[in-house]
Symmetry: C2
């Protein structure tokens, strides 16, 4: 087990009706004016916006709306929001949405108090030394952003999809009400399942130090995601399945499962980030395409752990059987497993490889993931 520091100060308020606490929570933090970030106008039709506005009004908290944040969120929108946050002198950012809104909100929170250009924080040219406090009401469980300090944003100009990470960008409080997620589309449910599984397996398979207790925790998360996805496809109104799915998403990336591991990397995310940066595919859909292909290429490098995966998750004997079973399950739930399903063809490979060059540098994986290796993996995904 490797040395580690674990610190996660985010308070999670989990369960039915918890969004009604938002006014009182902000008030307890001394906040009088927030930037309310969100994606589509859907939240205004389903009653969520009204419920939040009521809670804020009750506590006399002013809010400035900043809607229109898209999936695979973009830095131009973050810049626009930073100007608004400064102009309106907001004291905090309240994110209402899924991981894209929350990641953007973290970038806005850091960028508002940063004197330079916000993208510099993503490329290591600037340091996050402070940030506005971030509060979240989550409407989609997938990215784990509700209980970590990371944020992934795409620079449309450079087609780079990079991340920030700082002790200052943990949400102060994240409200996770699984009932708010019952209207998530079937597609986004299965993409989210793939995303959570990707968060779980990256470290699990690539770490050079992977304590067994951590493997067990990760297997608990994966088993839960598969079981609850099946349950939700059968009955989207199954609250308990929705809740366990959401908690699994949080656990997959709140740091607990990574404690004491070492030498891990994020090759699946690296490859997927190029797909979504170039073709704007849903992140989870890109991941379910990349994972089986990567696993087929990689498994001989960590054979014992792939055997373990097959046994613990599927009760199967060999690595190959485990990989095939995961791919089959992705097919069954309806998340893509082939680039063709994302309308990406062999003709697109040069552009992907070109984009992956900078990506591989950023992820620190350029040495292993040469254009030849990446071609081999991508061809398996065609």
């Amino acid at each position: 087990m490797d040395n580690f520091s674990f610190y996660n100060p985010t308070k999670v308020e989990f369960g039915k009706g918890k969004e009604q606490l938002i006014g009182a929570i902000l008030s307890a933090h001394g906040i009088k004016k927030v930037l309310l970030t969100y994606g589509s106008e859907r939240i205004k039709n389903d009653g969520l916006f009204a419920s939040i506005a009521k809670s804020l009004n009750k506590e006399g908290i002013a809010f400035v709306e900043c809607g229109g944040i898209v999936s695979n969120p973009v830095i131009s929108k973050v810049r626009e929001a930073i100007l608004l946050a400064r102009e309106q002198k907001v004291e905090a950012v309240l994110s209402v949405g899924g991981g894209s809104v929350l990641d953007s909100s973290k970038a806005i929170a850091a960028g508002t108090l940063y004197q330079g250009e916000v993208w510099d924080l993503f490329i290591g040219k600037g340091q996050i030394e402070t940030a506005l406090p971030v509060f979240a009401i989550l409407t989609l469980a997938a990215t784990g952003s509700e209980m970590n300090s990371g944020a992934v944003v795409t620079n449309e100009a450079t087609k780079e999809k990079f991340a920030i990470n700082s002790v200052h960008t943990f949400p102060k409080v994240s409200i996770v009400n699984p009932a708010l997620m019952q209207t998530v589309s079937r597609d986004y449910l299965v993409y989210s399942a793939a995303d959570i599984i990707a968060h779980s397996i990256e470290g699990y398979f690539t770490a050079t130090v992977q304590p067994k207790i951590q493997s067990r925790l990760i297997e608990s998360v994966i088993t839960t995601v598969m079981e609850t996805t099946n349950a939700l496809l059968a009955n989207p109104a199954d609250y308990d399945a929705r809740a366990e799915f959401a908690w699994a998403a949080t656990l997959a990336l709140n740091g607990i499962t990574y404690a004491g591991t070492a030498g891990f990397s994020y090759p699946n995310h690296m490859i997927e980030h190029s797909l979504s940066a170039l073709f704007n595919v849903p992140h989870g859909a890109g991941l379910s395409v990349v994972m089986p292909a990567w696993m087929k290429w990689y498994h001989g490098r960590n054979a014992a752990q792939f055997d373990r995966f097959a046994q613990q998750i599927f009760g199967l004997a060999t690595a190959e059987q485990g990989i095939a079973a995961l791919e089959k399950w992705f097919d069954k739930i309806g998340t893509p497993t082939r680039l063709s399903q994302l309308r990406i063809t062999e003709a697109d490979l040069p552009a992907i490889l070109d984009n992956l060059r900078g990506n591989a540098q950023w992820f620190g994986l350029a040495e292993t993931y040469t254009p030849e290796v990446l071609t081999e993996i991508l061809k398996r995904a065609l």
Copy 2:
């Protein structure tokens, strides 16, 4: 899944050599003078004290020694330390030891800033509204106190073993270096294993709402504790086993495994607290006696979960087989499973039952755990 709030701001610094950071950590928190609490003088012989003193001196941090804290720590010692802390105007408490020292330190930290009598905080006559910051260097992994806000202390005068719990008593930073635990005696290792398993099963078996993901996490903890205990009995110098054991101890009671559960109680701890309050038996030794007896009495009330336990932990078919296997494992590792091994006989039962009256009230279990029920459980443990 029940609604829950999860908040755990303790930073865990885990791994080899981490105790050398203590001076820098305290300095970063602006601390200039600490009360250094510990148990036996052993820390002065094995180099730990010298290492800590060096780290504190380097940062110019003064420390006031407060040694002699015993297992099953007592309120008289806490009172004495509070007077010292006030007189010396310390700004923080630095706990060097296991759960007994750390629990005492939390009580000292709260009591120093509380105007009234410290025991009032344990019996609900007073509220913890602030506390000195607590820092910990852990030398025994068992109680989970390093990453939670609870503290259990015995009042020798009234023979009550009660607890406090407050958002103000989370350690700011806990240093967990498994290498410091390699000198833990064989007895205390196996008692600690029983303690961690007790923390794991109380909620697992008694909760009226027990999400499957949480059962899986708990099973991961129990499996790890059993596996690493076996490994450590064979080779006490196995660092990785020591480390996984320690992390399992932390996870068992840091709140993660309890999130979303409801209706749980601590009957095994309730019964054991009377044993250690009256007979000063090691907490874990008391628990390994109580658990099998309680499980034999209780299992019909939650048959499905006991079947699950048998299957997941031991690969066995029935609840009875699972309970027998756990008892057999306790016997194998050498932690007691009978009151007679603690030199407690049938003649002592009236005194235990008498003590349990107040205890059952405090634990909110008086209705279910009548003297008749408790007699039945205790007789199974003779």
